[in-house]
Symmetry: D2
Subunit: 137 residues, 4 copies
C-alpha cells in the first residue's frame, strides 16, 4: 500500500461514518484495487432474519469507493448492480474485493466479489464510476 | 391497505432490524406496490460527507421487499441495479415508491424511484425477484 | 421534431447500417426523447423459435442512441441493462420509447420501454451514457 | 464437449437464425460454460461507424444461452447488463466466454467477457436466467 493510497483511504475512513457503523476493516489496497471485510450483526438483518440486501450492497459499494478513489481522483458511482447468490446470516464474515476492469480517463468499471468465511461467493457486484478530476486530499 | 398486506408488512417491519435502524416509515401499500420514507442522519454519510450509496440502495431495496412480498408469497431479490442521479445530504427526506412492472408466477420485476423532499429524483432502481411459493405469515 | 434533432437523427440513420437491417422506423423525436419501431422477422429468432434477446436489446439501444445524441453532443453508452418480460414472436411489432431520466453535463440516464402491438411491455431497459462534448453534425 | 452438450448446442444452432446471421462459431463447451466467436461486418455498425452495441450484446447473449442451456434444462434470460469498455470496429474478431457464477435449482448467474483479437476486454456482461425445468432435446 503506497503512501498516497493509504493517505486517501485513511482520509475516506476518517470521514466515512457509515463504513465505520458497518465495521469495515481495510485488508489490502493497491492502485485501483481494494479488499475489505466486515462481520454481520443482528441489527443488519431484514424481516426474514437474514442479512438485508442493502448491507451486502453497502460493503461492495465501500470496496468500490476505496478502489476507484485511491489514485486521489474523486470518483462518483453512476450505476451499480448486484446479484445476490447466497443467504448471509448473523455472524458471517464477509470480504469484498474490488478489481478494476476498466480505467478510463473519465470513467471506470469495477467488479466486486463478496465472499463469506467459507470462501463461498455470496454476491457479485459491478460498478461504473465517473472521475471528477478533483483531488480528495 | 388490505388486512393481508398490512399483516405481512407489519410482520416484516417487526423483524426487520435494519429497516428500523434506517428509520423507515411505511406510507402506502397496495398489492405489488409500496411507498416508504426515511430521513438521512449523520451516521449514514460516506467519506465525502454525502450519503453513502448503500443507504439509498437499502431504502429502495426495502421498498422492493415490501412490494414484492405483500401478497404473502415469500420473494427473494435476485438482481438489483441502481443509478445514482443526485447527491443526498444529511437531513434530506427520501421517499421510495416501488411499482410492479411484471408479476410472473416465479419471478417479478419492480421499478423504484427515490425522490428527495424537493421532488427531485435522486436514484432509479430496478429489482428482479424470485417467488419461493412459501407464505410469510 | 426540430431541425437539429431531425438533422442529427437523419445523419445517424444514414450511417447506421445495423438499425437499417433491423428495419427501424423513427416515429417521434424530441430533445432527449425518441420513439422508434420495428417488426420481427424470421432471421431474428433464436434456438427456441422466439426472438433473440439481442434483437430486443438492439432496438432499445438504438432508441437510446437517438434520444441521447439528438442535442448534437456525441454520447456513448457506458452501461445498459435489460429485463426481458414477455416472449416476442415473428411478426410482432415492437415500439421502443426512450425517456431521459437524467441529463447531466457529462452523463445521462435513459429509461426505455419496449412494447408489442398489443401494448404489452416486453422489456424494460436502462442505459447510462457519457457525453463526449463532440458534435455529430 | 460431452454428447449431451453437443446435442443441445447443435440443436440450438440449427434453429438459431440470428446467431447464424451473426456468424457465430462455437469454440468450446462444458457444463455451464461456453466460448464462442464472431467477426464484425460492415452491416453491424451504427451511426458512428463503430459496431452497434446491440451486436456486442447479442454475442454475449448467445454465449449465455449456450452456457445456461447445455444441461438440457431450458433456461430463459431474466435480466442482462453490459458495460461497454472499448470501441469495436469492422473486421474485429470478438470472442465471448460465459462462466457460470451460480447454478441454482431455479436460477443461474453468468459472467461473460467479450474480448477482441488483441485480447482486450471490450465488454463485460452479467446475465441472470430462470430454469424452466423443460428439456430442449
Amino acid at each position: 500500500m503506497s503512501d498516497l493510497h493509504e493517505q486517501v483511504v485513511s482520509h475516506m475512513m476518517n470521514h466515512d461514518a457509515f463504513s465505520r457503523w458497518l465495521g469495515i476493516e481495510v485488508l489490502e489496497l493497491k492502485e485501483g484495487y481494494s479488499k475489505i471485510k466486515m462481520t454481520i450483526r443482528e441489527e443488519m438483518t431484514n424481516g426474514f432474519y437474514v442479512t438485508h440486501g442493502g448491507i451486502i450492497f453497502s460493503l461492495a459499494d465501500s470496496a468500490l469507493a476505496f478502489a476507484c478513489n485511491n489514485r486521489n481522483n474523486l470518483s462518483l458511482a453512476l450505476e451499480c448492480n448486484i446479484s445476490f447468490l447466497k443467504q448471509v446470516n448473523v455472524g458471517d464474515e464477509l470480504t469484498a474485493d474490488a478489481k478494476e476492469i476498466h480505467n478510463g480517463r473519465s470513467t471506470g468499471v469495477y467488479s466486486i466479489n463478496v465472499i463469506n468465511q467459507n470462501n463461498q461467493l455470496v454476491a457479485l457486484f459491478k460498478g461504473t464510476c465517473f472521475r471528477t478530476g478533483k483531488n480528495l486530499v
